[in-house]
C-alpha cells in the first residue's frame, strides 16, 4: 500500500502564513508556525481524534463557533486565531471546569513536575478558581493492576487510556463506567487490568490518575536524568529512555522511533529494569572449587581459570551466544574461537537453522521488509509466529495497520495466535508440519501438487489453495512475517527453500529482483540480537559478514553430542543457558555434565548454577554498551544509562581479556574499538560509524555497501518430499508455547514476578473429553518416558490432536520433554494425573 503523500498547503495562524502538509490536524500544523495549542485528549498515536477534552478550541475564520484544533484538518487558505478573547475565555473556562474536581495534591502526586495539566493551567488558566464547593471524592489510590495505580479523583476523563485499550492494544479491558460527574475509568467487575501492553497507559495519562506502582514516589522530575538506549530483552529492540536517579534505573519510558516501536513499549521492557538491582543478580565472577561449589573469585583468578580451560580444550571448544549478546561480543567470540582456538563450533540460534547460502538468500537486502512495511502492506502473512511472544511490539504495529489502513492479515501456524480474530485466513497445521505447509503453499502459488505436502503437514489442501489465491490477488505489497521456529529443526533447509519459492512466486523482491517498496520477508529470530550475531559470524558455517568458512563447525545437537562424548571438552555460553534456553534438556544436561562450561550470565539459572566451571557476571540491559541489529537490518546503539556495579565488567572486555591470555596481540580499550574491528571485517557495514547510527539507528540494507551482501543460493528446487507428520493415533502432537514472560529478568523483577508463566497444557475440548480431562485439572504429559505435570486448559481454538504446552516455566515445562519431541515433531501421551 503506498504511503500517504500529503501536499503542502498554506494557512494563516495568528497572523502568520504557515506551510503545513494538507490534512494534518490543526493542533499539529500549528506547531509548524511555532504556535502551541494546548491539548489533553489529543494523541496522534491513538488514531482518530475524539475531541473529548475541549481544551484545543480555536477560532477559524468563517465558522461562527469555536472549533477543536485536534479534530479540524488544515485546509488551504484557512485563517486561524488562537489568541482571540473568545478563545482565551474558552480555554480559561475549560481549565476551570477541569479543576472543579481535580484535587490540588500536586506535592504528593507522582505526575507533579511533568504534568500537562499543571503546565497548561500555568500557561492558559486564569489562576483563580471561583468554585468553593467540595470536590468529588473516590477511594484512592487503588490498584488497577499490580503494575498500575489509579487515582480517580485526578482523572479528567480524556479517554486516552480507554482508547489505548480499545483501539491500539485491542484488549478491550478498560472502559468508562457510570455517567456524568460519576464517570470513572475501570474494568468489568474491577478485574485487574493485566495485558501485555498495559504500562503504556501510564505514559499516556495527561494527569496523575494512572501512575506506575513500581515507580510510586521514587523520584520527582527534577531529581532524575534520562538515559536513552535500546531495550535488549527481545528482538523487537524498542527504543527506550531509562529514568535514572542515584545511578539506579527507576523507570523505563519509550523513546519514540517510528521505524521500530511507534512509541509503545511492552510491560516486559517497561518494568523489568528492576532485575538489575535484584539480590539474585550476579555481582562478581564465580569459580567452581574442588568440592564442586561455585565460589566468588577475583576477576584475574576467574579469567586465568577460564583461559586455562580454553588452553587445554583448544580446538575441542564450542561456543553458543544468545540472549542479550551484542554485535561486538558476537564478533569477538567468533574471533576467539576461530583465531585463538581454531575451533569452528559456533552457534547463535536456539535450534539448527538453514545453511549459510539460504540465510544469505532469506536476508538479502532486496527481499527485506521493514517494520513500517507491516503497517502499510496490502497483506501480511504470519508464519508460525505469535508476535506477542517473538517481539511483542510488532503486534501493535500489525493491529494498527489492520485497524486504520485496512491491511489484511493471514495467520498460519500450529498454535492459535492473538491476531486470529483479525485474520482473513487462519490456517492451523500440525506441529512439526512447517516444511509440508510451506511446500504446499509454494506449490499452490506455482501451480504444483498441493495435496501431497498439505497432507504431510496435516492440513486441508483447499485451505492452502484459498490462502494462495488471496495472496495472489492481494496488492503488490505483501509481507511475510515469520519466526526462527518456522525454519528450524531437521527440515530447516527444505523449509527455507520453500519459503524462498513463495517469496519468488509473489515477487516480494520486486519484478526485477532489485527490491520493492513495501514487500518482503521479515524473519524474527529467537534471541534479541539473533540477526546481528549471524552477521557477526556466530554461525557454524559462516564467518563475519556471512562469508563462507573453510571448515564448517557442528550444529547444536552436534555440539551437545560432542560435549557428551569426547570430541569436545569445553563450551562458552555467552548470555545463554544451554539447559534453560535450548531444546533437548536431557541431552544438554548430559553434555554439560561431561565438559567444562564457561558462562557469561546475569543469573544463576539451572545450567549455570549446576555445571559452570567459571561464571562471569553479565551487564544489565541498561548498562550495556555496543550495537545490535534489528531483524529488519537496522543497526542500533545500546548506550549505558547507568554505571555498572563494581564487580561487573563488559562482555567485550571479558572476551578481549580471554583472547589476550590465549595469545591475541590486538588490544581493545573500548566497545567502540570493537565495533570498528567488526565493521572492518563485515563488508556491508564498512565505514559505518557510531555517530552515523546515532539515536535512531541505520538500516544497512539501505546503504550502498549492501551490494556486498553475499549471494544466496538460487537452487530452490525441493530435494526431498515433505516430512510427514505422524498420525496422532490416540496420542497428541506437541506444540510449544514460549511465553514472553519466561526470561529470568521477569522472574527477578519484583513487579513482574506475578506474570511468570505456569505450566499449562492447552488442548481442544474434544480431546479433553475423550481423555476425561476437565478445565484446570492436573495432567501428566509424557514422551519416551520423560514426564511433566501441567494444568489442563481447554481451548476451542486448538485443533483436535494437538496439545500446546507452556515452555520456560519454573521446573521446565515443555522444555523437559526430550526425545523426538525436541526436534519439533513428537507425539505426547496426555493423561489425567
Amino acid at each position: 500500500m503506498p504511503r500517504p503523500q500529503r501536499s503542502p498547503i498554506t494557512f494563516t495562524i495568528d497572523g502568520r502564513d504557515v506551510v503545513a502538509p494538507e490534512g494534518t490536524m490543526l493542533a499539529d500544523a500549528a506547531k509548524v508556525g511555532d504556535v502551541e495549542i494546548p491539548v489533553f485528549c489529543y494523541e496522534p498515536k491513538l488514531g482518530a481524534p475524539v475531541g473529548a477534552c475541549r481544551m484545543c478550541l480555536v477560532e477559524v475564520e468563517g465558522i461562527p463557533k469555536l472549533q477543536t484544533a485536534c479534530s479540524t484538518p488544515v485546509k488551504d487558505g484557512m485563517v486561524v486565531n488562537t489568541t482571540a478573547p473568545k478563545v482565551k475565555a474558552a480555554q480559561e473556562s475549560v481549565l476551570e471546569f477541569l479543576l472543579v474536581n481535580h484535587p490540588l495534591d500536586c506535592p504528593v502526586c507522582d505526575k507533579g513536575g511533568e504534568c500537562p495539566l499543571q503546565d497548561i493551567s500555568y500557561g492558559w488558566g486564569r489562576g483563580l478558581s471561583r468554585v468553593a464547593e467540595p470536590k468529588r471524592h473516590f477511594t484512592k489510590p487503588l490498584e488497577l493492576s499490580p503494575l498500575i495505580a489509579i487515582d480517580r479523583e485526578r482523572c479528567i476523563l480524556c479517554y486516552r487510556c480507554v482508547r489505548f485499550s480499545q483501539e491500539v492494544a485491542e484488549d478491550h479491558q478498560l472502559v468508562f463506567l457510570e455517567r456524568g460527574a460519576d464517570t470513572y475509568v475501570g474494568t468489568f467487575d474491577s478485574h485487574p487490568y493485566v495485558a501485555p501492553f498495559s504500562g503504556n497507559i501510564i505514559e499516556l495519562c495527561p494527569v496523575g490518575a494512572l501512575t506506575s506502582r513500581p515507580y510510586r514516589f521514587r523520584a520527582r522530575p527534577w531529581d532524575i536524568e534520562g538515559g536513552g538506549t535500546v531495550c535488549t530483552l527481545c528482538p523487537g529492540q524498542c527504543n527506550v529512555t531509562h529514568t535514572v536517579r542515584d545511578e539506579r534505573v527507576l523507570r523505563t519510558l519509550s523513546r519514540e522511533n517510528d521505524a521500530v516501536d511507534d512509541g509503545w513499549l511492552c510491560d516486559k521492557g517497561r518494568f523489568s529494569y528492576q532485575a538489575a538491582t535484584a539480590p539474585e543478580r550476579l555481582q562478581q565472577p564465580l569459580v567452581r572449587d574442588a568440592d564442586g561449589n561455585l565460589q566468588p573469585a577475583s576477576w584475574d583468578d576467574a579469567l586465568d581459570r577460564a583461559a586455562s580451560i580454553l588452553r587445554a580444550s583448544g580446538e575441542r571448544t564450542a561456543a553458543i551466544a544468545g540472549g542479550r549478546t551484542l554485535n561486538e561480543e558476537g564478533y569477538l567470540l567468533q574471533r576467539l574461537l576461530r583465531d585463538q582456538l581454531s575451533s569452528p563450533h559456533l552457534e547463535s540460534r536456539i535450534a539448527p537453522g538453514p545453511s549459510r547460502e539460504l540465510l544469505a538468500a532469506l536476508h538479502a537486502p532486496a527481499l527485506q521488509a521493514t517494520v513500517p512495511d507491516l503497517e502499510f502492506a496490502h497483506h501480511v502473512l504470519l508464519l508460525d509466529i505469535e508476535p506477542q511472544e517473538a517481539a511483542p511490539i510488532l503486534e501493535l504495529r500489525l493491529r494498527k495497520g489492520a485497524r486504520r489502513l485496512g491491511t489484511k492479515l493471514s495467520v498460519a501456524g500450529p498454535r492459535p495466535s492473538a491476531l486470529d480474530p483479525r485474520a482473513q485466513h487462519v490456517l492451523r497445521y500440525a506441529p512439526g508440519g512447517n516444511e509440508g505447509f510451506l511446500k504446499a503453499l509454494a506449490a499452490a502459488l506455482e501451480g504444483g501438487d498441493v495435496s501431497g505436502p498439505a497432507a504431510a503437514a496435516g492440513i486441508d489442501a483447499a485451505a492452502v489453495s484459498g490462502l494462495a489465491d488471496t495472496l495472489k490477488a492481494a496488492g503488490e505489497d505483501r509481507v511475510i512475517l515469520y519466526s526462527d521456529a518456522l525454519l528450524s529443526g531437521p527440515g530447516a533447509d527444505e523449509s527455507a527453500r520453500a519459503l524462498l519459492r513463495i517469496a519468488a512466486a509473489l515477487s516480494l523482491s520486486g519484478e526485477d529482483g532489485a527490491g520493492s517498496g513495501g514487500a518482503g520477508l521479515l524473519g524474527i529470530p529467537a534471541t534479541t540480537n539473533g540477526r546481528g550475531l549471524r552477521e557477526a559470524g556466530v554461525l557454524p558455517d559462516a564467518g563475519p559478514g556471512l562469508r563462507a568458512v573453510a571448515h564448517p563447525g557442528r550444529d547444536l545437537p552436534g555440539i551437545a553430542e560432542g560435549l557428551a562424548g569426547s570430541e569436545l571438552d569445553a563450551l562458552i555460553a555467552l548470555g545463554v543457558d544451554p539447559i534453560a534456553d535450548l531444546q533437548g534438556r536431557a541431552a544438554w544436561r548430559q553434555a554439560l555434565g561431561a565438559s567444562h562450561l564457561i558462562a557469561v550470565s546475569s543469573f544463576l539459572t539451572e545450567g549455570v548454577a549446576g555445571y559452570a566451571a567459571v561464571v562471569f557476571p553479565q551487564e544489565a540491559p541498561a548498562e550495556q554498551e555496543g550495537t545490535l541489529t534489528h531483524p529488519d537490518g537496522r543497526v542500533q546503539r545500546a548506550r549505558p544509562a547507568v554505571r555498572r556495579p563494581d564487580g561487573i565488567r563488559s562482555g567485550w572486555w571479558v572476551l578481549a581479556q580471554l583472547a589476550a591470555r590465549l595469545g591475541d596481540r590486538t588490544t581493545l580499550h573500548t566497545a567502540g574499538m570493537a565495533f570498528a574491528e567488526l565493521t572492518a571485517e563485515v563488508p556491508f557495514l564498512a565505514g559505518l560509524t557510531l555517530d552515523e547510527i546515532g539515536g535512531k539507528g541505520v538500516r544497512w540494507p539501505t546503504l550502498a555497501e549492501a551490494a556486498t551482501w553475499p549471494k544466496g543460493t538460487t537452487d530452490l528446487e525441493p530435494q526431498t518430499d515433505a516430512t510427514v507428520v505422524p498420525p496422532a493415533n490416540g496420542a497428541l502432537r506437541l506444540a510449544r508455547q514460549s511465553s514472553p514472560w519466561r526470561i529470568p529478568e521477569v522472574a527477578a523483577s519484583k513487579a513482574l514476578r506475578f506474570l511468570v508463566p505456569s505450566a499449562d497444557a492447552r488442548l481442544a475440548p474434544a480431546d479433553a473429553e475423550r481423555l476425561g480431562i476437565t478445565e484446570g485439572s492436573p495432567v501428566a504429559l509424557s514422551v519416551d518416558g520423560t514426564e511433566i505435570s501441567a494444568t489442563a486448559r481447554l481451548d476451542s481454538r486448538i485443533p483436535a490432536g494437538t496439545v500446546v504446552a507452556q515452555a520456560g516455566v519454573p521446573g521446565g515445562g515443555a522444555d523437559e520433554l526430550g526425545g523426538a519431541a525436541a526436534g519439533g515433531i513428537g507425539l505426547v501421551e496426555v493423561r489425567s494425573a
Binding site: 495534591d105 500536586c106 504528593v108 513536575g113 489510590p141
Partner: protein, 177 residues
C-alpha cells in the same frame, strides 16, 4: 570670595605650603585631634562581645539552621517528601527520597513521606528558598548559626536531626528590640 568657575576652568583650593613657621604647630595640632578619638574610646570601655560566653541576639527573621516540623495534635510529620525544596534549592544541598505511608506505618499527613531528608549544611547558603517553596510549612529556617563541626560528613543533617527540638543556643532578639 571664590570666583565662579568658567565652564572650562576649575578652581583648585590648595593647602598651606609645607615648611615655614606654622608647620610645627600644625603637626602637633593634628596629632592631638587624632588622640582625642583614641582617648575618647578608651573612656567608653570595651565593646568586644565575649563570644561564645556572650552572644548577640539575632533578629526573628534571621535565617539559621533549618527545622522540620510535626503537627502538634497528631505528631505526624508535616513533610510529605514532595522534594519541592530540593527543586528550589540553588545550592543543591537537599536530598529527599520519598516513600509511601501505609495504614500501619503512617509517618506524615499525606500519601507519601520523606524516608530520607538530608541537608548538607556545608553547601547550604541559607537563602531560605526551601522555606518559601514548601507547600506544607514543613521546613522553616531556625535561628541557630553555630554549625561548625570537625568533619564534612557530620554537616549532613538528617531528618531526625532536623525534626528534633534544637538546643537553645542562640538568643532571639525580642520584638522591637
Amino acid at each position: 570670595m571664590t570666583p565662579a568657575p568658567e565652564h572650562d576652568s576649575y578652581f583648585i583650593e590648595r593647602g598651606p605650603e609645607p615648611g615655614g613657621t606654622g608647620a610645627v604647630g600644625r603637626a602637633f595640632g593634628e596629632t592631638l585631634r587624632g588622640l582625642k578619638t583614641t582617648f575618647g574610646r578608651l573612656v567608653e570601655g570595651p565593646t568586644t562581645v565575649q563570644y561564645p560566653e556572650e552572644k548577640i541576639p539575632v533578629y526573628p527573621r534571621f535565617r539559621g539552621r533549618h527545622r522540620l516540623h510535626r503537627f502538634e495534635d497528631t505528631g505526624l510529620e508535616k513533610c510529605v517528601g514532595c522534594s519541592l525544596c530540593a527543586a528550589a534549592c540553588p545550592a543543591d544541598c537537599i536530598r529527599v527520597v520519598a516513600a509511601e505511608n501505609t495504614p500501619d506505618h503512617r509517618v506524615s499527613g499525606g500519601e507519601r513521606y520523606a524516608a530520607v531528608y538530608e541537608i548538607n549544611m556545608s553547601r547550604c547558603i541559607f537563602c531560605g528558598y526551601c522555606e518559601l517553596a514548601c507547600p506544607f510549612d514543613a521546613i522553616t529556617m531556625g535561628n541557630d548559626f553555630e554549625l561548625a563541626d570537625y568533619t564534612r560528613s557530620d554537616l549532613i543533617f538528617t531528618k531526625e536531626m532536623l525534626l528534633a527540638e534544637p538546643l537553645e543556643r542562640t538568643p532571639l532578639r525580642a520584638e522591637g528590640e
